[in-house]
Subunit: 350 residues, 2 copies
């Protein structure tokens, strides 16, 4: 790569420079951006192959493939930024299938005029997240759109994982009457962190996004031997929407216990102040697990032993219901239907 570097006339100005249209043109400026910014931070042997696609060893098993566009606004928020969110979100979509995440691909749509310094912060956060997770970005792409045709940076990450041949898949259509519903921790932090940041609302302290990679936790859950049916990360639409999806896929009903839902006091306060229900607010480091009743306590103990599952709780159960309703026993002993999210509650939350 050094031969071409010598030919770069201007070094990239990370302090005051901006993304220019030429950075997406396929020529020398793009090569410089890729080399001096992306490769330097995300570099690994696979990314260094320098071809249009990465060639990778693949362990035996079933392949798991996922993709997610990330358009969160603002780009930076308490607890992270779009870079680590894009890594965590895609790892989690692989992990909740019961698969081991192996590789990531990252595609950037940059807006002309976006500060190179901000792009560095984003890519640095991706680099830290991939290193901590042990899941490398092995291939990527960069495009630039004119000012006013984007919003700084959008990142699409795709993820590949593997499910060993003997392992059961976790899938949305496997919930059965009698199963227990677990959540891995407190809900609503990511959505309210974004919302508080966006509205410049100051509460007692900042609400910090829960963005995190869950594959370590899911590996422990897999290792427990519990009869796990479904695992999902309740992102857009929150716990309520995710459970409705599962109820529909599995053809069952669900009953939640309002008293059992773990919510941080500052999130509860912010939700009340802004008129949100934490059940519909996005999470980025939490999972829902549906497990055979006989194994629920065992699985809960395994989750409690993991740093990302310390506040795990049983929050409900699965039952027969031809209407596939998700209902909730309220704190006052009443009952209400927990419907799908309808309309747009929180735009561009992830």
């Amino acid at each position: 790569m050094m031969a071409a570097r010598r030919a770069y006339v201007r070094p990239l100005d990370f302090a005051r420079g901006c993304v220019e249209m030429a950075h997406g043109g396929g020529g020398r400026a793009m090569a410089q951006l890729i080399e001096d910014l992306f490769a330097r931070r995300l570099g690994n042997a696979y990314l260094g192959q320098g071809n249009d696609a990465a060639v990778l060893p693949m362990p035996a098993g079933r392949l798991v493939l996922t993709t997610d566009a990330h358009v969160v606004s603002p780009l930076f928020f308490p607890g992270g930024n779009i870079g680590c969110l894009a890594v965590h979100g895609t790892i989690n979509d692989v992990a909740v299938m019961g698969a081991r995440p192996l590789y990531l691909a990252a595609s950037f749509i940059l807006e002309e005029g976006f500060a190179l310094g901000d792009l560095v912060r984003v890519v640095d956060a991706m680099a830290v997240a991939t290193r901590e997770a042990g899941v490398p970005v092995v291939t990527g792409d960069t495009k630039v759109v004119e000012k006013g045709m984007g919003d700084g940076v959008y990142i699409t990450t795709s993820g590949v994982g593997v499910v060993a041949e003997g392992d059961e898949l976790w899938a949305g259509d496997r919930a059965r009457p009698g199963d227990q519903i677990l959540v891995s921790g407190t809900i609503g932090e990511h959505g309210m962190a974004i919302m508080a940041q966006r509205e410049s609302i100051g509460f007692a302290g900042p609400i910090v996004s829960d963005t995190a990679a869950l594959h370590g936790l899911t590996a422990e859950m897999r290792g427990s031997g519990a009869a796990i049916r479904v695992v999902r990360d309740p992102t857009r639409g929150g716990v309520a929407t995710t459970l409705n999806e599962i109820a529909r896929q599995s053809g069952v009903g669900m009953m939640l216990y309002e008293r059992s839902l773990p919510v941080l006091p500052e999130v509860a306060a912010a939700c009340e102040f802004l008129g949100f229900d934490p059940l519909y607010v996005a999470n980025e480091g939490k999972l829902l697990a549906i497990v055979a009743a006989a194994d629920a306590e065992r699985l809960l103990a395994v989750m409690h032993a993991h740093p990302l599952g310390r506040r795990a709780a049983v929050i409900g159960s699965v039952h027969d219901d031809a209407h596939h309703f998700v209902q909730m026993t309220t704190a006052f002993g009443g009952r209400r239907i927990v419907d799908w999210l309808s309309g747009e509650q929180l735009p561009r939350i992830c």
Copy 2:
């Protein structure tokens, strides 16, 4: 899926409707868009799994992974639209590694207010392209950004393929002095089709993009048994930039023969009129192949026998050069250096 469909209050209005923020919110409106638009057109057994990731059989071999964001402007052009381009581009990035493309993942960033009718045209083109190629979209994602934060639709496609264990990889660092350089057909059509459309320039007839999936051609090339070193699709930056990349990766020089470069007369005329050099103009259905000299004629014959290689030609050769220059013997017998593209020649060409 039917249970939830009954609950949709308004059917999607494909004639006059637009993308709304709620279509990205994760709730009922998004489920409706995915079900009635994406799943109906792109549907297959894998996409129908309905989980956050697709679970897929994986043949033995090395995994090939690629990703590309597509931001072409205008979205519709003679010969195709952003939908088929996103399918072809990603299949080609897998194919040029010498791999067999297996699966695609598609992520959409939609702009609020984008006409649903136009989105249907885009997704229909994707559907046709995936069916013709035999490579399904197995998982996807949809996000919506506010009006003025996008440009109708951006599509990021990621692709997975496999290289059988015994097969040699084609890679950019394998060109050797003495090798011959082949191109699969006429160059510059895609870039000039976009450019002519964008500038509303009418020539004798419209220039039609060459967008096409090349994995059928690469499979024939693989089957020929020729000692193929490198295959690349010369997209952004064109033939000149792609060859410079290969020269750098392989540590060699190259000599092109201007007389041998196949260019359609209408593309040559448009390039001259608009001040472009076809060597730098993007292609979306062409490939460059570098092959051992002894096998060049055999490979050329195999390419000529394929519909996408009918106008294949030997356009140059590889030689020793410490500077890794790509040079060209001009039609008048002179010599010039064919440098990297510097700056931005054609923004948002793919």
